[in-house]
């Protein structure tokens, strides 16, 4: 059984005003336990709406969200329980920090969840801080004294500390320098490997998605355009650029090589794969097809 499933999910913003806008127009997706899903799409394609529907921050106009086979809106009073199971990290999450110390801020989520035992709380907070690579001594500082990247990681830890079964991150690397990006991506990857949680990563960066995702969900104008394995999605460079998206740079190179007549697999999206494919091709296996100009 799928962990999260949506059935004909529809959402409309500003219903009944002149600003009415359909943000999601019947989405059907199904995500299994432990999967790493990349979510891509243009600004305004419905990505953010979709993730907010998944944790019950928005209530669908029609359609259902199933978590573990049960409709999350069956008991509207208990929607808070869904939010502990589906953790959502918003864009620029550092703006949500408010406590006196980083420790207290990370403890906000687990406390709301009802963890009262001091040791249990301490364990979850320290574990979350460790996942995002925050040093012990930072925990007693004010969150407003941290650097930009540290703030971001502290905020992510605040959601991880709730130990959700599904972790959704909306552009966690936006506005960070390359080193900060790599760091956060690696930590998310490690987190998922160690805990076996399901992760959804919303991103504009195809390189980020290519590095971490098993499957990719492509959104376009409120519809699910494609939902397939990362290799299959990036093979369709043409289709992606039609809806204003790109494939990773390395995939672009291989798609172009293929167009020029090289007998080479175009479903390549990481450097390691590229190296292997290029070596294989150069060793003569694909040479018969004619030289590449």
């Amino acid at each position: 059984m799928a962990l999260i499933e949506t059935q004909d999910l529809r959402f409309v913003y500003g219903k009944g005003t002149p600003f009415e806008k359909t943000a999601l127009n019947g989405a059907n997706i199904s995500i299994n336990e432990g999967e790493f899903i990349g979510v891509i799409g243009h600004t305004g394609s419905g990505k953010s709406t979709l993730v907010q529907l998944l944790n019950g921050l928005l209530k669908p106009e029609s359609g259902r969200v199933l978590l573990n086979g049960a409709d999350i809106w069956e008991k509207p009073k208990e929607i808070r329980n869904v939010r502990f199971q589906v953790g959502l990290v918003f864009q620029y999450p550092e703006y949500q920090l408010f406590e006196e110390t980083v420790y207290k801020d990370i403890a906000f989520g687990p406390t709301n969840k009802g963890i009262k035992d001091k040791d249990e709380l301490d364990r979850t907070v320290r574990k979350a801080a460790e996942f995002v690579g925050l040093k012990e001594e930072l925990l007693d500082k004010s969150p407003f004294d941290l650097s930009g990247g540290e703030k971001r990681r502290a905020a992510i830890a605040g959601v991880i500390a709730m130990e959700p079964r599904v972790l959704i991150l909306d552009e966690p690397t936006a506005g960070l320098d390359p080193r900060g990006r790599d760091r956060i991506l690696n930590q998310i990857k490690n987190y998922r490997e160690q805990t076996g949680s399901t992760v959804l990563l919303v991103s504009h960066s195809m390189e980020d998605i290519a590095r971490v995702a098993d499957r990719v969900l492509v959104m376009n104008r409120g519809n699910v355009e494609m939902f397939d394995t990362t290799a299959n999605i990036f093979k369709q460079g043409g289709h992606l650029s039609e809806i204003g998206l790109k494939v990773p740079q390395v995939t672009q190179v291989f798609l172009e090589l293929k167009r020029l007549g090289a007998d080479i697999d175009a479903g390549i999206y990481t450097m390691e794969q590229a190296k292997a494919a290029a070596l294989e091709y150069l060793s003569g296996a694909g040479r018969k097809g004619g030289a590449v100009q």
Binding site: G14, G16, T17, P18, Q52, N55, L57, R80, R83, F84, G87, L88, V89, F90, P93, Y95, Q96, L97, F98, F108, G109, N112, K113, F144, G158, V159, M162
Partner: protein
Amino acid sequence: MISDITIGQFMPGRSFIHRMDPRMKIITMAALIIFVFLARNMLSMGLMLGFTFISMLITRISPKMYFKGLKAIWFLIIFTSVLNMLYIGGDTVVFKWWIFTITAEGLWQSAFIAMRLVLIIIISSMLTYTTSPTDLTAAIERLLAPLNWIKIPVHELAMMMTIALRFIPTLLEETEKIMDAQKARGADMENGGVMKRAKALIPIVIPLLISSFRRAFDLATAMDCRCYTSGSGRTRLNVLRYRFRDAVAFVTTAAVCTGIIYLNMLSPSLVQ
């Protein structure tokens, strides 16, 4: 929800009223509000109601939006009407029970008060619905320009108003974002007693304050970078000009106001 507050919300459009000069809108609508109080019998009140209704249709904004604006003050309207109904004495008693006496005079009085309140809200909503905040403050600045003579810094006040108005939607959006982010961390804002609810506001108010300061500093730096200086000598990108349609609006409003005074004389007044 926060987004349900409609007073002061601008609804873009291309109607006659949308395209009027904002100064003329303020002048005519202020005149209309004054004359709402001068209409003293059913004939003049009828003219006022009719004219407001037609203006509402001209704006092409759904009447629903106007009634949404009224929602907030329904209680006030009913409360003052009932109070007036009971307190205004008169000779023609319609209904008497225990210490409550309702007279025809009292009924008219309360009906007029209700109609006046509704009209005022509709007319002022019409001004804000059809005028962008920037136009509105530009118009206020121009209309108040004579106050410069008594050393009131009209431009600075208008600038402050423009900035404040400009940031209302931004702050509302920001508030909703922060609320969502804290809700995603399990913050509970709907349940609990007064103390618990007040405490639940802290995770929202603190980030909001911090980001407001950040925005204020950013804006001040940006203004500095463009060498902003206030006071005289500033020119505008869009200079306000009265056009033919403003003359039409002025003449029509003047006619309606004259009509109200004339109709007041035709039949006896129903309010004190």
